[in-house]
């Protein structure tokens, strides 16, 4: 059996796991996949988080991708990072940089078990702040500067690729290089608030091809979190596993302990269980009926007859779901054009399950209506 077939059938423990520690966030990014903003009062306590870490250690999950919300605003964040790394669970955390001052950077530089991803969605303040809010570009660069100055090795600059920033790939690479950091590009998903801005932000077909060519040219120098496997239908496969790992080798634990098949699928349809239930996370991972079904051989559905199916595997489950497409059909951004055809027949689109957005937005927050040029001039209100 080939390695990918083992992965498709699911492993006894995830290879990597995303853990969103809080829905609280100082920003209000337009495309936030978890609709973050306000803290959920049911958030896992420090002790409950430590119990999850103990389980991850027993399951030999080597590292967790911690996100949010903005995870560093949790008052026990550093305590949990230390607890994880003391228990052989490495930590990669995503941050907008708000708490990465000189002292924190020094502390991070001292540990080889912690990796930091600073989110940036424009290589210029203008492009970034339109999506992430006023001042967020300067905040991210300040954090990257502190990390560099502290001697932190190989931080990541994490970019969600959009229609507005795809022309800046070379500039992103230069920016990351200038901080001694590695560029990480990931795919925009129509998840969370991303559903509201998908039509304006998702890359255009010609940009997908440019991105594909750029990724092929840069190979393993640029990280992608394996998120662009739908582009493999252009020809050669991109570096990485090139498969949907949802419920098979990846999953998400959200701030209240709910376990979802993947970080982009926060919806009851993809809810496998909760870490607070008897048996904890391990039992959800091993026994969930949802995960069992995701580990079954998939038919390929409408895509099965496409000659590119072997390379793209039908694309991203979450992208299909939140654009109203059937899960066994083409990805909405299918590079062979089948997604557009399928989208033409879509009626109602499922809504994300939880909305934790700030009520009334945050000061300096992005203004949704300023994004992109709409084909007509009608008032957005």
């Amino acid at each position: 059996m080939r390695l990918v077939e083992h992965f498709k059938a699911g492993l006894d423990a995830p290879i990597c796991l995303t853990w969103e520690l809080t829905y609280a966030c100082n920003l209000a990014c337009l495309h936030c996949l978890s609709s973050s903003g306000r803290r959920d009062p049911r958030e896992l306590s420090t002790e409950e988080c430590k119990a999850v870490i103990d389980e991850l250690q027993r399951m030999q999950v080597f590292y967790v991708n911690i996100g949010g919300g903005e995870p560093t605003v949790r008052s026990d964040f550093w305590e949990l990072v230390d607890y994880a790394t003391d228990h052989q669970v490495g930590v990669k955390f995503s941050t907008n940089g708000v708490r990465i001052d000189a002292a924190v950077a020094e502390r991070l530089a001292a540990s080889s078990y912690v990796d930091v991803q600073v989110s940036l969605d424009g290589a210029t303040a203008e492009v970034n702040d339109a999506v992430r809010g006023a001042g967020s570009y300067d905040m991210a660069l300040r954090a990257l500067g502190h990390l560099r100055d502290a001697g932190f090795r190989d931080a990541k600059v994490s970019v969600v690729c959009t229609r507005q920033n795809l022309g800046q790939l070379d500039a992103f690479k230069e920016l990351a290089d200038s901080f001694g950091a590695t560029l990480r590009l990931t795919r925009l998903r129509p998840s969370g608030r991303g559903a509201d801005v998908w039509d304006d932000l998702h890359p255009l077909p010609h940009q997908q091809k440019e991105l594909y060519d750029w990724l092929l040219a840069h190979g393993e120098d640029v990280l992608t979190g394996d998120s662009f496997f739908h582009l493999s239908a252009f020809g050669s496969a991109l570096p990485g596993l090139n498969l949907c790992g949802a419920g098979r080798v990846v999953c998400l634990i959200d701030p209240v302990g709910d376990v979802y098949a993947c970080p982009f699928a926060i919806h009851e349809e993809f809810l496998a269980g909760n870490v607070r239930s008897p048996g904890g996370f391990a039992s959800v991972w091993r026994d969930s009926g949802l995960f069992a079904s995701l580990r079954e051989p998939q038919s390929g559905g409408a895509c099965a007859s496409c000659s590119f199916y072997d390379s793209c595997q039908g694309g991203c489950m979450a992208a299909k779901f939140f654009t109203g497409l059937p899960l066994d059909g083409p990805d909405p951004e299918c590079v062979q054009g089948y997604g557009e055809l399928a989208l033409a027949g879509v009626g109602a689109v499922p809504k994300p399950t939880g909305d934790h957005s700030h009520r009334g937005g945050v000061r300096g927050g992005p203004v949704p209506v300023s994004i992109g040029a709409r084909p007509c001039n009608e008032s957005p209100v």
Binding site: L3, I15, G90, S112
Partner: protein, 77 residues
Amino acid sequence: MLALHPQVSVRPEPFGALLYHFGTRRLSFLKDRRLLDVVQRLDGSTSVEDALTGVPEGERAAFRKALATLEQTGMLA
């Protein structure tokens, strides 16, 4: 003598094993359970050939190549 880097963790899997290097944050897949055995035997062996004991002659070239890759990526040191 080569051995697993002290910062590398091993998780045995039905297909072989997952290796994770906490220093380089790289993940590697060993696609053969016997390769895992060889890797684990390195520590305590006098040479790579010694660790390859039991691997059929015809397959040793592939094992040597896999070990060289693991050395290049810092998994073995």
